[in-house]
Structures are given as C-alpha cells and as structure tokens.
Amino acid sequence: MSRTMTYREAMREAIREAMNADEKVFLMGEDVGHYGGCYAVSKGLLDEFGPDRIRDTPLSESGFTGAGIGAALGGMRPIVEIMTCNFALLALDQIMNTAATMRHMSGGQYHVPVVIRMATGAGRQLAAQHSHSLEGWFAHIPGLRVLAPATVADARAMLARALEDPDPVLIFENALLYNREGDVPDDLAAIDIDHASIRREGSDISLITYGGSLWKCMDAAEELAGIGVSAEVLDLRTLRPLDDAAIMASVAKTRRALIVDEGWRSGSLSAEIMSRIIEQGFWTLDTPPMRLCSAEVPIPYAKHMEEAALPQVSGIVDAARKLVGG
C-alpha cells in the first residue's frame, strides 16, 4: 500500500513522526515556527508542538547551528534547518570543525547526533547568491553523512534514518522538489537510504545523478528510449559515503557512464564519481565517462541565462548520444 503526497508534505510528516516518537527531537531554525518554514515544510507544526520544540531562531546561522551541535552533545536530537545551503557557508566552521571532528578528536568519547537540513539548488531565478549547489563540498568532509533525497518516498523515509544515526547527518533538499508529488509506501523501513537506487533500468549507458537532477535524467532516459538508447538511471541518494558498488555494477553493465551534477564542474562531486569509476571500473569501460555540470559562473537571474548555466534534459540527451554513438 502507498499514499500520494508532495515532497514538502513528506518532509513535514517525517518531522512530525520523529517528534511524536521521541520527545528529544526538536526542530530549530530561521522561520520554522511562526512563518511556517521558508518552504512551508514546517507549516502547522508550531501549533502542534509549541515554540520550545519548533524553535524559531534569530538570523545567526553559525550560532544556532552550533547550538544544535551542542544540544546534540547534551543529549537532545535536534533537527537544525538552515534555510538554504547558501547561508550554510556561515555555519561551515561549526559543521566542519566541531560536528564532523568531535567523535574522532575526542578519541570516541563524544558524538554529535544532529541532523541538519537545508535546501539546495538553482532553477528559480534567484541569482548568484541564492543558487548554489554545495552538497558536493559537504560530501568532502569526513565525519559527516550526506543525504540527498530525490523522491517523495525518500524524503519521507530519510529523516527517521538520519535521526537513528549517532553522528551528524546533512540532508540536502533540492528546492525545486518541494511541490513534486509522489508515492510513499507504507513500509518505510523497506526504503534503504544507504544504497543508491536504480530508478530506471537500462543497458546502454548509466546516467548517474542525485537530487534535483534525477528528474531531468529520467526525462532524458525517456527521450533516449525513443531513439533506441536504453539508459539506466542511478540515483545516488547518499553522497557520503558514496555507494561505490552500485555505481560499479551499473557501469559494468552499461560500460558507459554520464554523471549529471548541478554543481559547478571543476571540483564538483561529479569529479569524485568519475575518479572512482576510473579507479574501480576502468577496464569495464567502452569509452571514457562524461559529466554534465553547471557552467562555471555565478548563476544569473534571467531565465534563459539561468537555463543555459544548468544541466538540462536536452544536454543530457546530447551527451548520452555522443557517449553511445562514439
């Protein structure tokens, strides 16, 4: 059995469930309460749980993220919402130098069970300072787990799993997905967030992606099918640690890989994935893997320019054709 809901509703239901299940769980962040969440994820929860547990914070990203880390150390299970990854830069010191290091640096004495959620991605004409895709950066940091739910079901399931983790978990929610509808199975436990998921099977090429780009890849795969190219779409789901086995299995089958990643090309997560394919699957390849990323430019406001800067379905189709044809 399953139900249909939006990605936003799925996140909200997951938060509600977690808060009902464990009184140590609380949500804190800018405008999570009275405003209802900048993307309306937490709308209604203030009335349900009160201002202590749905805690509006001042504009102090470093302060309240650090406070969330401290509260986790102190025995609570905070969900910290940073409105978008663009503002998470202000909290990066706390995340990297405290949350991520604490367990190792303290010789295993302390651990930080904090969950930090944030929106990511471009595509809504919000221009240079509001369009970053920084999940690849966070995936560089040892000590963190980094999740990127792309489907409504994953959005519904990931939070509970993240809260089970005794260590810091970051959840990146592509802002374009909030209105997306999808099915959520009743058996959430069956959703395995630790492993990448094949969203569409194929035999000619692997489209490896995550988050908001998943749906562009699905559309591209559909188009490719129309011209006789069978594309497999692999949704990474967890960006740290990467599911190498799933990546290699898919590439071993299709012998061609196209990585689609909304981050700026140089130094993006796509480079890491390509490197691992080379390190672990070089001899299975028919042709060098390719990647499709954002142009290396602050994302512009004008719609046509923003579109030109980001990976698009047509670009995925073209690249895939080149790979299989070449």
Binding site: E30, D31, G33, H34, Y35, G36, C38, A40, D56, T57, P58, L59, S60, E61, S62, G63, N86, F87, L90, R124, Q125, L126, A127, A128, Q129, H130, A295, E296, V297, P298, P300, Y301, A302, K303, H304, M305, A308, A309
Partner: protein
C-alpha cells in the same frame, strides 16, 4: 552631534513627497508585474518604509557610496539609478542596471556608487566598512551608507562590522531599518535586547532612534549624522523604526502578524502622513500632488516601456565577466 535645521519650503516638500511616491508607485507596479510573471525570482517590496531611504538619501553627496539589501528598489531609485534600468533588470533584460543577471535582489550602478543589492542578510556590512576604509585611506571625504534590517543585527557580521568601523573611525552611516519582522520572526523572538540602537554602545558608536515613518525626522537625523561623519568623527548608527506594509516577499502567507497591526501602521504611513501635513501647512496643494502623481506615473510607465523594449543578453555571453578576460 549638532542640531541641523531643515527648511521645509514648498520645493523641499515637493521633493520629499515625490521621492516617496516614486518608490511607492514603482513598487506597486512591480507587484503587478510579478503576478503577470514579467518579474520572477524573489521580490521584496519596500512599501511602507519609503521615508527611511528618502530621508537618508537627502544627506548624501554624489561621491558617497550606498550599500543596501535585497529590499533595495527604493534605495536604487532614490540614489539616482534610472527607473528604466531598474525595471529592465527585474525583467532580466540586458539593458538592466546589472545586465539582467542580478534581478530584484542585485541592483548595481557604478555611476552613482550604488553597490547593491545583497541577498545574504548581513553580507553588505563588511563591504560598507571596506568602502569607507578605502575612502579614508585615500583621503577622500566620502561616506558610505549601509542599509540593513533589524533581523541582520543578530548576525555575526553585524557585530564584526560595527566594531571595525568604530575601531578605525571609518566614515560609515549604519542605517538599521527596523520594520519589526525578519521574514516572519518578530523582533522579540530574535533579540534579547529589542532596542537595537542600544547595541551601538557596545562599539562606542553614537546612535539614535529615528521615527522611520516621518521623512523629515529621518532627513534631519541623516544630515546631522552625515555632517558628523564627514568631520571625521567616525561612524554613526541610526535605527529607523518603520514597518513593511506588504508581505516579506511574494511567497509570504503572512501568518505571523495580525491584520489589525498592519492596518494600524498603514494609518500612520509615511506618505499619507507627510502629504496631509504638507497640505495642512500650506506647503503643497492638491494641484501639486496631482502633478507629482502624474510625473511619477509617467516615469513608471516609461520604465515599464523601457523594460519591455529591452533585449535578452545573448546566451553566448554567459561566461563573460566571470573574471577579466584571461591574461594568457
């Protein structure tokens, strides 16, 4: 600071009212164009707060610099950025003041030293400190005015910037536009000390509370402050108490405040109030006001026409101006 006398004659009253109306009518048009999807992305209206930027700008000279926030259409207009270029920017046209790349939150204009347009809350404050430092080190007598909301006062960058400006006696006028809310977060949910102007004491910076709904009060405080800063006495902090009449952005359902509260504030709106005062005082008459409205309407419609007639930046220019052309 010494008291600064203001001659509120006909011309000056006309100017102040017109400036506020320019912002009001321009933004009303923006709201309309947003629903018509001519303008996209985030759009933050300044409606209700016009007296603040209007009063402050009166005190600035041509060489002074302005740093603002994502709620800066009014500031840009009042600083002298042509309305057409602002509107074209929001349309995303290359005739826009940022070539259509910035949109509503990133208006820039070098000829008037208008430095944006910053979408990171608090992000403009260090820049203002630096601009003032550059002016001071070069022996220029310019000042930099830096606008920001009361919500920004909680950010670390507020603290660091105020300290730097005061420590180095820099010519910065900090203008806190306290409209009581940061998105949906009321001031008392974000600050333990809600009297923002009192925070300036932590930096030994002179500060004042100003009625931000009264354009004359703002202008007087601004002139006094700018004079003091230009004398080399270091930064000044003005907290202008005001209110935004519209939602935070076009996405905001406004769950966090009562309609009654909004109504109460609109009744003391800066335009309504100044206009009736000027009428009563006999400085303006209804013919003046009609003429102003007509001039403003013309400016706004010309701006829209300019934006409509604008062109799209060629996609091939996408990578231009990421940096200077390569040195090779």
């Amino acid at each position: 600071m010494t008291g600064t006398k203001l001659r509120l004659d006909h011309d000056h009253c006309r100017l102040l009212l017109k400036q506020m109306l320019r912002v009001r009518r321009f933004e009303e048009k923006c709201a309309e164009l947003y629903t018509r999807e001519k303008i996209r992305g985030f759009l933050h209206l300044y409606i209700g707060e016009e007296a603040v930027a209007t009063g402050i700008m009166q005190a600035l000279g041509e060489e002074d610099a302005v740093v603002a926030t994502y709620r800066e259409h009014g500031h840009a207009l009042l600083r002298g950025v042509p309305a057409g270029e602002i509107m074209a920017e929001m349309y995303g046209k290359q005739e826009g003041c940022s070539r259509g790349r910035g949109g509503s939150m990133h208006l820039f204009h070098a000829p008037t030293r208008f430095y944006g347009g910053n979408a990171i809350v608090g992000g403009g404050l260090p820049m203002a400190v630096g601009l003032a430092l550059a002016d001071k080190m070069q022996g220029k007598r310019n000042i930099t005015v830096c606008f920001f909301g009361e919500g920004a006062a909680a950010e670390g960058e507020f603290h660091e910037s105020l300290n730097l400006a005061a420590l180095w006696d820099l010519p910065v006028l900090f203008v806190c536009e306290n409209n009581l809310y940061a998105m949906g977060t009321a001031l008392d949910l974000s600050e333990s000390e809600t009297d923002i102007h009192a925070k300036a004491a932590s930096y030994k910076m002179p500060s004042e509370i100003v009625d931000g709904m009264n354009v004359v009060d703002v202008e007087v405080a601004a002139r006094r402050s700018v004079d003091a800063i230009r004398e080399g006495n270091g930064p000044v902090f003005l907290e202008c108490r005001t209110y935004r009449f519209r939602a935070h952005s076009m996405f905001d359902p406004e769950l966090y405040r009562e309609k009654e509260e909004v109504k109460k504030w609109t009744e003391i709106g800066p335009i309504r109030r100044f206009q009736s005062w000027a009428l009563e005082a006999g400085e303006l008459n209804q013919t003046d006001i009609d003429a102003i409205e007509e001039e403003v309407a013309l400016e706004v419609s010309e701006a829209v026409a300019f934006a409509e007639a604008g062109t799209w930046e060629p996609v091939t220019d996408l990578l231009h101006d990421v940096g200077a052309e390569a040195r090779t």
